[in-house]
Symmetry: C2
Amino acid sequence: ARPRVGYFYTGKTSEQLLTENIQKLLVSDYYSRPVVVNENTSVYDAIVTMFTEDVGTIFVVDKLSLLVGVVSRKDFLRASIGKQELTSLPVTIIMTRMPNVAYCYLDELLVNVGKKLIEREIDALPVVKDSEKGLVVVGRVTKTNITKALVALHNEQMLS
Amino acid sequence: ARPRVGYFYTGKTSEQLLTENIQKLLVSDYYSRPVVVNENTSVYDAIVTMFTEDVGTIFVVDKLSLLVGVVSRKDFLRASIGKQELTSLPVTIIMTRMPNVAYCYLDELLVNVGKKLIEREIDALPVVKDSEKGLVVVGRVTKTNITKALVALHNEQMLS
């Protein structure tokens, strides 16, 4: 519905309103499905998965589907210009492993995820749920999701 | 200066104000310096440049410093798991070449860049200036810059 224009008064500055709109952006509205490989996967097979799924970051899970690590395109590129045989190198050797992996939850603010991505200089975070035995991977959030959120904030009004 | 609160009346909806704030974000406020290699560079040397400069996208220029192509980490990864000798493979073989390269200008809206990145499924655009002979590369804009813009929009108010 088109909001009624000309009768808007809240006693707030436009910057406050902007902040409130950004505060409404949650991970649950913008996350993507996760792409995971088992911890026994070779670097070569993980690279193939990265290309077939067309993602920049892959999550590594154990047999209980719990998060054990993260591998990025940069990690894969570093490994692939090295001298190792990629088909016999386990992905666990080149991944960033728990507890050094940054992650987030579905009900977290998207702008918080943006801060973590920038601070850590990474492209994606796993979205997790807590379980008794560890963290279960339920999604991923990337700089692409955040870019889409900014474009959507802009489009909502242009189209209304 | 702290805006005066409680006397704000514009006859605009909060969504309109949000759009106006996003419309103020220009490429010139958020771009990064470009990382370029000459078109005679090998794929191997370009990968080394990517790691030493810690960027995800490299621009390829000719001897007049005009844009001829773009190479991403994904292009490099594809090449490096192939059978070619990377030190003798020219970067021009694996790059996306003009006129198929998307680019932007300093005075363009950042949200427009976001749209181009999403439509083309790429991570970065070169920022260019027109010259008589072609496009001169003056910067790069990535999804990282856009993520920083969203975080900054949010922080501005939180810190004021």
